[in-house]
Every structure is written in structure tokens, then in C-alpha cells.
């Protein structure tokens, strides 16, 4: 589904990703963990098409297409979703109005008719209850004045409405209490099936208690330095990122 090969990217002339390789297949959940500044959010941004970043090498193939050639909206059309670490507040635009536009634009991209009002409302109701959201929240301006938990729930609600093939969740757990993490992770779990995949980017292991990954990768200094199964996340939690740092430094000394 997603194949990242030797991806190098940076911002303002500073190289942050120094050769990332990653393969994600349908039905899989991957977690990327790493200390602050390791390049986690850069990877998410580059995959979603944020313009501030420049790709200096490597390739990303998504469902057979060259992802890096597509505009952010076309990436969404192809089935990519980015759950923002800091969802943006949009004054004057209600969540309902916004998601309706987004759903129909994505459908248009996929050659489908726009949803009629009845079908849209039915779908919205269903996804709202999935995320334990109130109707009033959706009629308010998008994310404006929302609590941290509300914002993240709204992200997963949007994911549910857009039904992506690959969801990249950028530190969706940051700033959330344990109840909010549970709601968010349960939402994601219910949306999982054999045809879609999740790439969860996180600093801490606690999200992965609820959203159990098939693979865990450790990102350090712009590279994936260690990959394993969910036990790796537990090991990281116990030993802290220092153990990765120490390993890396030993390797550098040896070479």
C-alpha cells in the first residue's frame, strides 16, 4: 500500500529525514516512535504534502502512485488521511459544513456522486456516536474553542467520515487524558479492516495499549534505527530513549 524508499527531506535547507525506508500493507498497524526532534512529525508532514518541506531524495509510492507528485487534496482523494497533532481552528466554518464539503470533494475525486442530504446525515449520526460526540459540537466553528480531547475526537470523526485507506495519526495522543485516549483509540480500532492501514506516530507507548500495532519502528536522527513488534514499544517505555541513543553511539564508535 505504502512504500517509502530512502526518503530524504528537510525544511529551510536543514535535512531532517536522512533516508527512511518503510513498507505498509493493507490491514496493518504500524507505530513510529522516537524522541523529540527525531523527525516523526516531519515524516507525517511530508507524506501529507505540507509545502514548507522539501524532498531531496527517495520515493514514496501509495497504491501504485507517486505520492510526492500529488497535491495535498489529491492525496486525500487517493485515500490518505493525516490526523493533525495540532488541529487548526477555523473561525466561521462549522464542522458539519466543512466535512460535507470534504466528503463530497473526495467522492468527486473518486468518481462518485455527492451524497444526498439524507445519506450524509445518516452517516454523520453514525460516526458521531462512534466518537461519542454531541451534535452541538459539529455546528460550532471547526475546532474553535475545542478542548484538546474534543479536537482529537473531531480528527478521528473526520477520518471516519472520509474512510481513508491509510490513516497517519500524528501524536494523536499528545495532551490527552487516559479517557480521551481510549475514546480516540477505540474509534480508530472500529474503523480498521483488512483493506486499510494505520501509521501511528507517537512519543509514548500508552496509545499502543489500546491501538495494538503489528510493527513498531524507532525513528532516531532522521532514520529508522530499529524495527520490531509491539514488545519493542514496551522495551522503549521501560528503558527510555536513552537506550537507543546509547546503542547508536556504540555503533558509531565501532564504525
Amino acid at each position: 500500500m505504502l512504500r517509502i524508499q530512502n526518503l530524504q527531506a528537510g525544511i529551510e535547507g536543514r535535512e531532517i529525514l536522512k533516508g527512511i525506508n518503510l513498507d505498509i500493507k493493507p490491514g496493518e498497524v504500524h507505530a513510529i516512535m522516537g524522541p523529540n526532534g527525531s523527525g516523526k512529525s516531519t515524516l507525517a508532514s511530508v507524506l501529507a504534502g505540507r509545502q514548507d518541506y522539501t524532498v531531496s531524495g527517495g520515493s514514496v509510492e501509495f497504491l501504485g502512485k507517486d505520492l510526492l507528485e500529488l497535491s495535498p487534496e489529491d492525496r486525500a482523494g487517493e485515500g490518505l488521511f493525516l490526523g493533525f497533532q495540532y488541529p487548526v481552528e477555523i473561525p466561521g466554518l462549522s464542522t458539519t459544513n466543512f466535512i460535507k464539503t470534504a466528503v463530497n470533494e473526495v467522492r468527486k475525486y473518486r468518481g462518485l456522486e455527492p451524497l444526498d442530504a439524507v445519506a450524509f446525515l445518516k452517516m454523520m449520526k453514525e460516526k458521531m456516536s462512534l466518537m461519542e460526540m454531541e451534535q452541538t459540537m459539529l455546528s460550532r466553528s471547526l475546532n474553535e474553542g475545542f478542548s484538546g480531547g474534543e479536537k482529537k475526537r473531531n480528527e478521528i470523526f473526520q477520518m471516519a467520515m472520509l474512510q481513508p485507506k491509510l490513516a497517519i495519526l500524528d501524536e494523536t495522543d499528545s495532551g490527552l487524558d487516559i479517557d480521551a485516549i481510549r475514546i480516540v483509540a477505540n474509534g480508530v480500532n472500529k474503523l480498521r479492516n483488512k483493506d486499510n492501514a494505520v501509521l501511528a506516530i507517537t512519543h509514548y507507548q500508552r496509545l499502543l495499549d489500546y491501538l495494538v500495532p503489528d510493527f513498531v519502528h524507532v525513528l532516531y536522527n532522521g532514520r529508522i534505527v530499529k524495527s520490531g513488534t509491539k514488545e519493542l514499544a514496551i522495551e522503549l517505555e521501560e528503558k527510555g530513549y536513552d537506550f537507543i541513543r546509547n546503542e547508536m553511539h556504540q555503533e558509531e564508535e565501532v564504525s
Binding site: 501529507a48 487534496e73 487548526v88 477555523i90 466554518l93 466543512f98 473526495v106
Partner: protein
């Protein structure tokens, strides 16, 4: 001095009778105009708005040219909701009863000259030309000198005018360049309630200029909503003065929407002249091409315990330019004044620009005043957020801009007018290759 010879000749030709109650005011006004002239950019209040060249040409002065506009030509110019609304039509500054339609019985209209001589004479003598105290340029004086065709409007006390009153200022520039100078004094009686919607329409492509002065007196317990919709052609420039004087505890709610035109200058004044008077001033300008919008507002807190709230939002595209100048006076006696002001601007082009200036002059010591302004480009982060959800960039921009404008549009209470304005903005956002 400016090239005002033709105006002087026109004025002399009027040969005003000495006995008419307004003649002396008019003669004095022309003298003031002659002394002050048309302001240049050296005038502090006109630093960013250049109108002298607009007056440096020979216009047809309106009253010499009664209109040829007929009902069939007027029909397509009418605003949505006109089925219920009362309509007042001014052509080249002159009130045209034949095209007007007064449906509300509580609303009366007569010429200024007549009003000055009949039972309204006291109101006229007390309030007519009060705006001149707030303007130190010759433009207002020029209007006062040429008030032929000006009107006095009156809303009876304790009457609720159910449907809005539409005021059309039509400039017929199909044959020649025209200077129209509408003038009105509106008296909102005690406890009355009315919605006024004013708009400007220029016919023909000759360059035209509208120099309007509207003075409104709001009595105790009255509620006034005033909406100004400016969406004229680029050959049509205007200086539009709306002077609202609250002489009793009353509520004033204004929304100024400026979408198109040549050089447009609005002077909006709210004089809070009684305790507990309340004024809300909202504005939205969305400019493109070479257009220029200048909103000069004054909130004058004369008496204690008054409240005002001002929010102007602007979107400027292409080479358009904008000015916001918000003056708040708090007079010595106006303790416990509560005054807020905010001006927010989005520039869509590198060539667009805006000058914004809050001006607070406070002479009382127990007051709450705040002001703020912002100028920026469209929020890149918001744009990316919407795009990442599949919304194409141009549409994402449109959604962001509509969201930006929403809190002003919500302040337009007559539903057909709000829908009309929203539609104009939506059309612009889809037509525009932003």
C-alpha cells in the same frame, strides 16, 4: 485652491432667497467650502484617500438634470425583499416620489425645506447639519450648499416599522459625468424601531461622484438598524457621511458592506449623547481590482454609561487599497464608558495594502476602552488543513474567507439582504481565480 469655478457658478445661479430658513445655512456652507476646498492628502483625515482629482473635473451638478429614469429601468435595480420593503428612490441626489413606494404608514417623508417650515422646524433647526461639527473638510460643506432635493424623514414615536426601508441612491451617468449630492435628515421618534438599508447604483459608464450626507437622530428608547451596501461600478466614487446622533437611551446597530466601487470613503459617526445609549458598528469590505475603501468612524461618548462595540473586517485582493480609521472620543463627563474596537484585515495579494489606525481620545478617568488591529495573509496552516481533507485549494480559500466574513454577515438582520450579500460574496469567491 481647486478647480471649483463651475461649482461656484452653479451655486450663484441658484440665487437662494433670503427668506428661506435653510438659505443662510447653505450660503455659509458654500463659503466654508470655498475656504476649505476639497481636501488633499496633506489633510490629516485624508492622508491615504486621494479625492481631489475626482473633483477636478466638470460634473453635471445633479439638480439641473432631473432624471429620465423610468419604472421599467428601475425594476431590475431593486433589492431582494422589495415586495415587502418600503422603497425610497433618489436619482442624482433628488428624491423621486414617482419611483418610491412608502408602505409603512409610520414612516413619513417631506422635503427639507418644507420640514424646516412646518411642525418639524424645531427638529430641523436642532439637528440639521450637526455633522459639520465633526468634519473639517469642504466635502460636507459642499453637500450642505447644494441640498436641493434633500429630504426629511420621520418615523413616528412608538411605531415598529415591520419591514425594512430601502434607500436607493441612483446616479444616472448614462449621458454625462454626474455629481450627486443626496442629503437627508432622519428622525427616529421616541420608542420607534426601524431598519434602513441604503445602497448605491450608478447607471452608465461616465465617471461619477456621489457626495452624500445623511443625518439620523435617534430618540429615547428607539432602535435603529442601518445597513449600507456598496457594490457599485469602478467608475463610481463616493464620499458617504452617515451621522447618527443618539439623543436618548437608544440602540443603534450598523453594518457597512463595501464590495465594489472606485474610491469610496465612508464617514460613519455615532454620537452617544444620552446616558446608557448603545452603538454597534460593524463593517465588511472585500475589494479587488483598483478599488479603494476608506472607513472613517467616530464614536463620540458625550454622556456617561454608554457602550459601543466596533468590528470591521477587510479582505483586499489585487491592487486594491483600504483604510480604517477608528476614532473614539470619551468626553470629560462620559464616565463608565465601555468602548471596544477591532479591525482585522486579510491581504490576498502582494500589491494590496491597508492602513489601519485606531485613535482614542479619552478625557474621562473611569472608562473601559480597548482597540486592536491585525493585518495578515490567509492562514496557510488552515489552508493546508482543509486541503489535507480533500478540499481543493481555491475552494479551501473560499471557505476560509467566508468563515472570516461570517461574524459580520451574521449581523445583517433582514434575511433577504443577508442572503443577497452572502450571494455576492460567494459569487466573487467562485469567480475569482484567487
Amino acid at each position: 485652491m481647486n478647480n471649483n469655478t463651475y461649482l461656484k457658478e452653479s451655486f450663484d445661479r441658484l440665487n437662494l432667497p433670503g427668506s428661506s430658513p435653510l438659505s443662510s445655512i447653505r450660503k455659509a456652507a458654500f463659503k466654508s467650502f470655498d475656504v476649505m476646498g476639497i481636501p488633499t492628502v496633506r489633510h490629516e483625515e485624508w492622508k491615504y484617500t486621494r479625492i481631489s482629482s475626482l473633483f477636478n473635473k466638470e460634473y453635471q451638478v445633479s439638480f439641473q438634470n432631473p432624471t429620465s429614469l423610468n419604472a421599467a429601468e428601475f425594476a431590475p435595480l431593486r433589492l431582494p425583499g422589495h415586495e415587502d420593503a418600503s422603497e425610497l428612490v433618489f436619482v442624482n441626489g433628488m428624491y423621486v416620489p414617482g419611483l418610491s413606494n412608502l408602505k409603512a404608514s409610520a414612516f413619513g417623508i417631506t422635503s427639507l425645506e418644507e420640514a424646516a417650515a412646518n411642525q418639524y422646524s424645531e427638529i430641523v433647526s436642532e439637528h440639521f447639519n450637526h455633522s459639520s461639527k465633526y468634519l473639517t473638510d469642504g466635502v460636507q460643506a459642499l453637500n450642505t450648499a447644494f441640498i436641493d432635493g434633500g429630504v426629511f424623514m420621520h418615523v413616528q414615536p412608538r411605531k415598529f416599522v415591520k419591514y425594512p426601508v430601502y434607500i436607493y441612491n441612483i446616479t444616472d451617468a448614462r449621458v454625462a459625468s454626474v455629481l450627486s449630492q443626496p442629503r437627508s435628515l432622519i428622525h427616529i421618534g421616541q420608542g420607534a424601531q426601524v431598519q434602513l438599508v441604503e445602497t448605491y447604483i450608478t447607471l452608465g459608464t461616465s465617471e461619477s461622484m456621489t457626495n452624500e450626507v445623511m443625518e439620523i437622530v435617534v430618540e429615547q428608547d428607539a432602535i435603529l438598524e442601518y445597513y449600507k451596501i456598496q457594490n457599485d461600478q469602478s467608475s463610481a466614487s463616493q464620499v458617504s457621511t452617515t451621522h447618527i446622533r443618539q439623543v436618548g437611551k437608544s440602540v443603534v446597530h450598523t453594518v457597512t458592506v463595501s464590495l465594489n466601487g472606485g474610491i469610496v470613503r465612508n464617514n460613519l459617526h455615532a454620537v452617544l449623547g444620552a446616558r446608557f445609549a448603545e452603538a454597534h458598528l460593524y463593517g465588511l469590505y472585500f475589494q479587488q481590482g483598483q478599488s479603494h475603501i476608506d472607513n472613517h468612524t467616530i464614536v463620540d461618548n458625550v454622556m456617561p454609561d454608554c457602550q459601543s462595540n466596533e468590528l470591521y473586517k477587510g479582505i483586499l485582493d489585487n491592487n486594491s487599497t483600504g483604510v480604517f480609521n477608528g476614532k473614539i472620543f470619551v468626553r470629560k463627563d462620559a464616565q463608565k464608558t465601555n468602548a471596544f474596537q477591532s479591525n482585522k484585515n486579510v491581504l490576498l495579494s502582494e500589491n494590496a495594502n491597508v492602513n489601519t489606525k485606531p485613535q482614542l481620545e479619552i478625557f474621562a478617568d473611569d472608562v473601559k476602552c480597548s482597540h486592536g488591529c491585525t493585518i495578515g495573509s490567509l492562514d496557510e496552516e488552515g489552508l493546508f488543513y482543509l486541503q489535507s481533507r480533500g478540499v481543493p485549494k481555491t475552494q479551501a480559500m473560499a471557505l476560509l474567507l467566508q468563515g472570516f466574513a461570517l461574524d459580520i454577515l451574521e449581523k445583517i438582520k433582514p434575511a433577504p439582504i443577508r442572503a443577497y450579500v452572502e450571494d455576492l460574496i460567494a459569487q466573487r469567491l467562485t469567480a475569482d481565480v484567487l
